[in-house]
Symmetry: C2
DNA sequence: CCCCATTATGACGGATCGTCATTATTAGTC
DNA sequence: GACTAATAATGACGATCCGTCATAATGGGG
C-alpha cells in the first residue's frame, strides 16, 4: 500500500504518477535531438520507439500525437526563458538598465538553446498547431503572457520613476510589442537568413542590441544611450546575473 | 516547323517552352490554395494529381519534389513584394517619407497576401529548405537581397541629403537590419500570436507603424515624427502609389 | 505513313503515422 | 502464495502519402 521513495512516504498512486513523469522526461530527452537533427520529419515515431525501451503504444499513452511531443519540447525551453526573464527583471539598476537586462536574458537564451527557434517556428505553423491539445496550447500561451508581463512591468516602473514619459495615447504594451518585434524578428533573421553576412553585418547580436537602444532612445527612455554605455551593461548582466549560464555557452 | 501564336512567329521549341510555363502556372495555381488550406501536409501530391488533368509523373517533370513547389509559391509572392518596394522607393518626398513609403508597401503586401508568411515560415524550416534546389534558393536569396538593397539605398540617400547622420561606427545596413527585424517580427507576431489582443493591442498594424517611427526617431532621422504626421504619409502613399492594390484588399 | 525521340501515365515500393486486439503486469484480497 | 480484476504494454496492421520507373502514348520529321 505505502512505500518509501527518497525518504518520502508514497502510495501506489503517487509512484505511478512519478514513473509516468520520469518516462515522459526520457521520451522528450530522446525526441529532442531527433527533432533538432531533422525537424518535423526527423522526429520519427518508429525510430523513437526503437531507440527507447518502450513500445509505440506506450509512447502514445503519453502523447496522443507527434505534434504533442513537439509542443512539449517548446514548452520546456519557454519555461526556461521565462525564468531567465524573471531573474533579469530583478537586476538592481535604472529601469532602462533592467530592460537591457531582459534583453541580455533574451540573447543568452537564444545562444543557450539555439534550437529553440526551430521548435517554436514549427509549432507556430497552423497545420501543426491545430493538432495540439488545447491544454498544452494554454500552457504555451501562459508562458508567453507572463514573459510579456515581466517586460511591461518594467515599462510601468520606468513610467512611475519618471525615466519614461509616454503620450496619453500610448500604452506600455505598445512598447513591449516593439521590443518583442525587434527581438523575435532579429533572432529569426539571424537564425534563418544568410543575407546578413552578405551585407556585411558580422556581429548581428551586437547590432541587434544597438537597435534595441535606438528604439528606446526614440521614446526618450532615460538615460539615453548617449549617456550610458549599454554594451557595458550587457557585459555586467551577463556576468553578474547569468554567470552560471554563460559557462555553459563558452564551455 | 513554324507556327503563329499571339501574332508572333514561333518554332516548335518555343511553343514547348511556352506550354511548359503555362502548365507550371496551372500547377502552382492549384497548389497554392491547397497549401494555404492545410500547410505542408495539406499540399497532397496525390490530390494535386487528381485535381489536375496531368498525371503524377508529369507534375514531377516540373518539380522534383513537394518542397520545390512550395519554394516556388514563396518566390511568386516575394517577387511581388520586391516590385512593391521598388515602386514605393520612387515616392516623391523626403528620405524619411520614402522609408515610410516602403513601410507602407510592406504592410499592404502582408494584407494583400496574408498567406505569404505561412509559406515563408515553412520554407525557412531547415528540414524543408534542405530539399529545395540550389537554383531556386538563389532566386529567393536574390529577392531578399534586392529588397534590402532598395531600403539601404534610401538610407544612403538620407545620409547624402543630410536628413540622417550616422556615427562612423554605424553602417546603413545596420539600420536596414533594424527595420527588417521590426517588420518581420511584427508581422510574424500579428500572424501567429493571439497574445496581442489579450494585452489590449487592437490596431496592431498601426502600432507597428508607430514603432517604426520610434526607431527612426531614435537615430534622429529628420524630420522627426513630432514634426511630421507619418500616419498621414501612410494614407497618402496607400492611395497615391498603391491605389490599385488597395482596391483588391477592400473589395 | 512510319519511326524514334520525347513526354505522359499510374501502379507500385517504401516510409511513416496512429490504432487496437491481444498479451503481460500489477494491485488488492483471501 | 494463489487468484482475479483492472490496468498497462505490445507490435502487427490499416491507412496515407511521397516519389519512381517500366510501359504506353504522342508527335515531329523524313
Amino acid at each position: 500500500m505505502t512505500i518509501r521513495h527518497n525518504g518520502v512516504v508514497m502510495n501506489t498512486r503517487d509512484r505511478k504518477h512519478r514513473e509516468m513523469q520520469e518516462r515522459e522526461a526520457i521520451i522528450l530527452e530522446c525526441a529532442r535531438p531527433m527533432f533538432i537533427e531533422g525537424g518535423y520529419n526527423g522526429l520519427n515515431m518508429d525510430r523513437l520507439t526503437s531507440m527507447l525501451e518502450y513500445s509505440k503504444g506506450t509512447i502514445y499513452n503519453h502523447f496522443s500525437c507527434k505534434e504533442e511531443i513537439i509542443i512539449t519540447l517548446a514548452i520546456q525551453t519557454l519555461e526556461k526563458r521565462l525564468a531567465m526573464f524573471e531573474k533579469a527583471a530583478l537586476f538592481q539598476g535604472t529601469s532602462r538598465e533592467r530592460i537591457a537586462a531582459i534583453g541580455t536574458a533574451a540573447e543568452l537564451f537564444v545562444k543557450l538553446y539555439p534550437d529553440h527557434f526551430r521548435v517554436e517556428q514549427t509549432i507556430r505553423l497552423d497545420s501543426i498547431w491545430d493538432k495540439t491539445s488545447e491544454e498544452r496550447r494554454q500552457v504555451m500561451s501562459n508562458c508567453e503572457r507572463r514573459c510579456i508581463g515581466v517586460v511591461s512591468g518594467v515599462v510601468r516602473d520606468g513610467i512611475a520613476s519618471g525615466d519614461l514619459n509616454l503620450k496619453d495615447t500610448t500604452s506600455p504594451e505598445e512598447i513591449v510589442f516593439g521590443l518583442w518585434s525587434l527581438s523575435f524578428g532579429g533572432y529569426s533573421i539571424i537564425a534563418t537568413s544568410n543575407s546578413l553576412q552578405e551585407i556585411g553585418i558580422s556581429e548581428p547580436f551586437k547590432m541587434l542590441r544597438h537597435n534595441y537602444s535606438r528604439f528606446l532612445d526614440g521614446i526618450q527612455w532615460k538615460p539615453l544611450s548617449s549617456e550610458v554605455d549599454y554594451d557595458a551593461v550587457f557585459e555586467r548582466v551577463s556576468e553578474e546575473v547569468f554567470g552560471n549560464e554563460l559557462q555553459q555557452i563558452t564551455a
